[in-house]
């Protein structure tokens, strides 16, 4: 983000507000673009995964190979649907609800590091921020449920409130464990720590319990698989978005896949080594720094800075690594690919669970949250604390 601001400031020659807003505009625009493209791909992937698990072909006819353009067609059709509104529902809430829901999840992307330098805001309270901002989405869903003035959507909204709020506890306790090990909330540190010490999942006997607890809690958090109570087709017709049609409904669809992405990218960065391969092959973690080091060395030499600075930059440049400057940048991007692969593996597991398991009842979901996930999360935290102090 800082580099963008620096780039814009020397581009426009001014300081302060203009480059800042330009940089923000670019970031938000690229992130929005990424999310919509990702959501379309994820919807298509879900239909194909579901289909092949159910011995049939998913979308085939739209677009060329295997119906790739299916989600584009869905979006285009939803764009031109008639905009309906329930007669005596609350108009204002009805129109705001999708926006609030989408912003709740969209804001979560700010703190996520896709690679060493590529991050909108390098918050040092990264994980804490993501978990708390996700609670905004619940407000939006309750607004949607209440404003649609139909009993089924009210049911969906109330169930949603009960479930998502009460599943933030187990997911927070489960996330405490990697924070305990790494010692900081900043997501960037996780990457660096796991570059040296290998993946966190193997770093302690209780870590896999925390990973499992977090994964199940995140499923409930984004209303997927066995916990998709709020929009349970077979009972509540279509849960809280029963009355929505057209573009408004596609916002809810987008939000569901975005929150799936946030959950699985957190799983990848915190437990399975963000951009590092299993035994730190190719040392992908910090090639971004090499790239910077090379550039800094060149600048320092050009500005004929004092000797020691130039020597230090030269030393860093010398340790640039086997590839040329362009190679380093490319290698830095390899880290992003590894991270996205892991994320898509977890998204596949979420889809796989959805098409295998039946749905739990409301009180069983609550019971599981408080009686099973929370105690095991706390047990993992205590176990890791003991393990960290004595064994490691």
């Amino acid at each position: 983000m800082e580099r963008l601001i620096a780039a814009f400031s020397d581009l426009t020659g001014t300081e302060g507000v203009i480059p800042l807003s330009l940089a923000y505009a670019v970031c938000i625009g690229s992130l929005l673009g990424f999310i919509t493209v990702y959501a379309m791909f994820a919807i298509w992937m879900e239909r194909k995964v579901a289909a092949h698990m159910q011995v049939r072909y998913g979308p085939m006819e739209t677009g060329g190979w295997h119906g790739w353009a299916q989600s584009v067609a869905d979006a285009l059709k939803l764009l031109f649907k008639e905009d309906l509104f329930p007669r005596d529902g609350n108009k204002l809430l009805f129109f705001i609800a999708p926006a609030v829901v989408f912003c709740g999840v969209f804001a979560g992307f700010i703190a996520i590091p896709f690679a060493a330098g590529i991050q909108i805001a390098d918050l040092d309270l990264g994980i804490f921020f993501i978990i708390s901002i996700a609670a905004v989405e619940v407000v939006g869903v309750i607004m949607a449920g209440w404003a649609s003035n139909s009993k089924y959507s009210l049911f969906g909204a109330v169930r949603e409130a009960a479930q998502v709020v009460s599943y933030e506890l187990p997911s927070a306790t489960a996330l405490l464990v990697p924070i305990l090990v790494v010692g900081s909330f900043r997501l960037g540190d996780f990457n660096a720590y796991q570059a040296q010490h290998g993946w966190l999942i193997f770093s302690g006997p209780f870590m896999w319990i925390a990973a499992l607890v977090y994964f199940i809690a995140s499923l409930a958090g984004c209303k997927r698989a066995p916990f998709d109570l709020p929009e349970a087709e077979s009972e509540l017709v279509s849960g809280f978005h029963t009355e929505y049609s057209g573009m408004r409904f596609s916002f809810f669809f987008l939000e569901e896949y975005a929150s799936m992405f946030v959950a699985s990218i957190l799983m990848a960065t915190l437990f399975f080594g963000g951009t590092t391969l299993p035994f730190n092959l190719f040392d992908l973690g910090n090639w971004g720094d090499y790239a910077d080091a090379g550039r800094l060395a060149a600048q320092a030499a050009a500005a004929n800075a004092p000797a020691d600075l130039v020597a230090q930059a030269a030393r860093a440049a010398a340790a640039v690594g086997p590839f040329s400057d362009l190679g380093n940048i490319l290698a830095a991007h390899l880290g992003i690919v590894v991270l996205l692969l892991k994320t898509f593996f977890f998204i596949f597991v979420q889809m796989w669970l959805r098409w295998t398991l039946p749905r739990l009842r409301v009180d069983q979901v609550m019971a599981m949250g408080y009686k099973y996930l929370l105690p095991w999360g706390l047990f993992a935290v205590m176990g890791t604390a003991v393990w960290e102090t004595y064994a490691a």
Binding site: M60, L357, Y372
Partner: protein, 186 residues
């Protein structure tokens, strides 16, 4: 104590059954090939006994209405004019809006002239298209026409030519007059 044992039994039970269930779906995802019949491009085999659209061998039909009587929903409408054994066909239509494909119209036919094919594509966007007319020709065929009005057939013409113009066929003037009157021709 019982509840503690149930507590752990619940957890192990949940994990093992979920894993086995996921194993089944994964096996379907990887090893089982999809069994979809890509309908517009390829068609599923249909046994010859399938009950689809009807077909009528119009030349054998004797307009006896047995099939129309046997139909529980009366969806067969037949109109034909009788000239002795010759028929002037106006209509033999099956109303597929009502037909329930129960195949009760096939067995009673004395001359076995109505059959059911295996064709099933009948989707239309106009309600009236669903009344299918099974006739291959309507009105009178020229050879029936000839038989009725008594013009000598080729065989009789040849016969007359052979035996020097004696009257080949029988004298049908009375029948001809009556039929011509009915046909209302000049």
């Amino acid at each position: 104590m019982g509840s503690i044992r149930d507590y752990f039994a619940n957890i192990t039970g949940a994990l093992t059954t979920t894993a086995k269930g996921m194993g089944v779906t994964l096996r379907h995802f990887t090893s089982e090939p999809p069994i979809t019949v890509m309908y517009p491009h390829e068609r599923k085999w249909v046994p010859p006994t399938t009950r689809g659209k009807h077909i009528l061998e119009q030349d054998k039909c004797i307009d006896c209405h047995l099939c129309a009587k046997a139909c529980p929903v009366d969806c067969i409408e037949i109109e034909a004019e009788h000239y002795g054994r010759i028929l002037e066909w106006k209509q033999f239509s099956i109303d597929y809006k009502k037909c329930i494909f129960c195949e009760f119209c096939i067995p009673p036919c004395p001359v076995d002239c109505i059959h059911m094919t295996t064709e099933y594509e009948m989707a239309t966007d106009r309600n009236d298209d669903m009344v299918e007319d099974l006739l291959t020709w309507t009105g009178l065929r020229p050879e029936d026409e000839a038989k009725i009005t008594g013009e000598p057939t080729e065989f009789q013409k040849k016969q007359q030519a052979d035996d020097g113009g004696k009257a080949g066929g029988k004298d049908k003037s009375a029948l001809i007059a009556q039929i011509k009157a009915r046909l209302g021709k000049g």
